[in-house]
Amino acid sequence: MKRREFFKFTSLAAVGALLPKAANAATPPHVVVIGGGFAGATCAKYLKMWGGHSVQVTVVEEDPNYISPILSNLVLNNVRRINDLTFSYDDLKSRYGISVVHKKAVHIDTDRKIVGMHDGTALSYDKLVLAPGIDFKYTNGYDITKVPHAWVAGEQTLLLKQKIDALRNGETFLMSIPKSPYRCPPGPYERACVVADYLRKKGVRANLIVLDENPDIVVEKETFHQKFSEYGIDYRPNSAVTAVDDVAMSVRVVQNGQTTTIRVQALNVIPNQKGGAAIFLAGVNEGDFAPVDLRSYESLKKRDVYIIGDAHHSTQPKAGHIGNSEAKVCADAILRSLNGLAPMPSPKTNSACYSPVSSTEATWLTAVYKYDSANNKMVLASSTYPAASAPSSQNFYEMFYWAGNLFADTFK
């Protein structure tokens, strides 16, 4: 038996040189991710966490920081500040070695595999991930600083808060809910509840009208109908906003074929939605969203282009939590593809969302999706959409645990 233990060295100039370096490796493949939200940031992070030094990742994101729409309705009632929901890309850069380029992609050439930026620079890619989120289909050219949608968080959220804070007794606040599919199915109903509760607690007796282009509340029907009736919210289904007047503060509404004009003191029109600009630049859209192979999120129209999050077309809801989940499936499929392997044949994604309905209570909704290979669809893995039995204060503080880990899993 050999006698040995640890050893000591002489002439130690630089321990960093201990391990011989591998021979010059070829430049690793480059993945460019357009969009640094829940889907894009997660995809970049997991590409590096799992692919490590075998892959280079660049995120192209216009904004210096990300402001989460998740929890942003709680800015309206002073439970959160925008700062609490603002995330930098520093950890993606320093911990994972991801390049983050704060530029706007204005041109995508999927044949030459090049992304052109607003400043004339360009990036070439081996794989391109599009995670641009949503864009809006405005009814007409009105001023969104006067009629904010607040469906992208930040400045818009604060503008809406100003409108709500300015409401006086007897005045009316009107919000409109877009036609499905739109980002965050429970979000508009949650907002109506949070605002109603906030005004009530402030002692402002204002009226609340909710116009919904959908035939009924889209998710958690019983809970939201119950809360709407408690708050005295005037809920009008099948009501499409067809024009907005930002001077008169009025909307033209078509409900069941009948057109009316409603004039109020504060307007929050959430327009109908489509995928972000990048899917149109890349020519991977079919209508408003981009169809993909749901095992990998690779475009059905262009090779080596992947679309995750709100801009892709599927049965999955458009929301941050599931955008994060899709991003991991996509990152793994890209890494497998770069290693000559097929994606995992039966991926799973999941959705979970806590929704506040006041400054002290919240509800939740969750789902698991499985891949249906016969139809290339993600279908519910269990028979129903489970939801909280009723709003509660316990759900309210759990909401911050959920969001805290989701934020960290995306940006840290």
Binding site: A17, A22, T366, A381, A388
Partner: protein, 340 residues
């Protein structure tokens, strides 16, 4: 100038050993750092009798690169600034079996001189030695906990090596964990004699010191009651993030279905199963954790097949349990937290 001294547990005499002492807080912090991270291993060390003279000399050490599969002999040539250990390539011997150990670079925050921020993981003894520096005459100093002049293994620390193989390549990860108070020391039968002055029941026994080092997590728990005061403003995301473990990026991708499925848990339970808040961490946990009483978790559980759950936990069990962030909110309780 070419000089490298091998220390065998039987032949070593105390006068040949060099040790550097460090405060107990350093040892605790180091162990905490090791436990909270996993480390990639790029190569293995073998004691190898190059001369076939029946003894392991100072330069009878072979380094096998996992990246390239190439073998190098230690101190085969004079060290230089670019080749500090005098490595030279050699033909890979056929008879290599189990490696003797690994050197792992740490980049540990409390090491002032990062050049020496390494541990040697001794495969033979299942022990971990911390490199601390070099003496004026260029000998290495290893951590000497009891101050008797000879190096000591980090007490109460064990490790596991996880190897994943792809065609043509190997990826290896070392993960450290805290063992029962004296378990790892007493199990090192042949080495115990050389550390006879080390008292495993002294202040270095791990549990109490370790938890006191985790001041960041304990302050977090104590702020719990005020955190959800009526203003909800004291919750600070950035203060939580400081407990997130750092990580080492792998050299290459290794497919793993369980890892991908498990990643679907991380939105709620934190990246790699390390929660940043009072929701429970799931790293290192067993399958029964999946069937939780929390109604949301119950709903999620319905969406996964038993085979998928097994794959998820086969992966999660490879991740070291997060000692610092143990949840006090692991169990769902309807009666708890009603704040009316």
């Amino acid at each position: 100038m070419k000089r490298l001294v091998m220390l065998g547990s039987v032949v070593c005499s105390a006068t040949l050993l060099f040790g550097a002492t460090a405060p107990a807080s350093y040892v605790d912090a180091l162990k905490s750092f090791l436990v909270q991270n996993s480390f990639n291993v790029n190569g293995e060390f073998y004691a190898y009798d190059f001369e076939k003279d029946g003894k392991i000399d100072y330069n009878d050490w072979l380094y096998l690169s996992l990246d390239t599969g190439e073998a190098y002999r230690l101190l085969a040539i004079d060290p230089s600034p670019t080749n500090a250990f005098g490595f030279a390539p050699v033909q890979k011997p056929q008879e290599l079996t189990e490696p003797d150990g690994y050197f792992i670079y740490l980049d540990f925050g409390l090491d002032n001189d990062k050049k020496f921020s390494w541990v040697y993981v001794s495969h033979q003894y299942g022990s971990v030695y911390k490199l601390m520096g070099a003496t004026a005459d260029n000998h290495f100093d290893y951590l000497d906990i009891d101050g008797n002049g000879s190096p000591d293994p980090l007490p109460g620390l064990t490790y596991t090596v996880q190897t994943s193989t792809l065609p043509g390549s190997v990826a290896m990860k070392v993960m450290f964990s805290i063992s029962e108070a004296s378990g790892s020391v007493s199990s090192m039968e042949s080495s115990v004699s050389s550390y006879s002055s080390f008292d495993s029941s002294s202040s270095y026994s791990t549990s109490s010191d370790y938890s006191s080092y985790e001041s960041s997590s304990s302050s977090y728990s104590s702020s719990y009651s005020s955190e959800y005061s009526s203003e909800y403003s004291s919750y600070s995301y950035s203060s939580v993030s400081s407990t997130a473990p750092t990580l080492t990026l792998p050299q290459r991708y290794t497919p793993n279905d369980g890892r991908l499925l498990a990643a679907g848990c991380y939105q709620c339970h934190g990246t790699n199963g390390y929660s940043t808040n009072k929701w429970d961490s799931i790293a290192g946990e067993d399958m029964d954790e999946f069937y939780d009483d929390h109604p949301l978790m119950r709903a999620q559980a319905q969406g996964y097949t038993l085979d998928e759950v097994r794959k998820i936990f086969d992966w999660l069990r490879t991740l070291p349990e997060y000692e610092g962030g143990e949840s006090e909110y692991g169990e769902y309780d309807d009666d708890e937290h009603d704040d009316d």
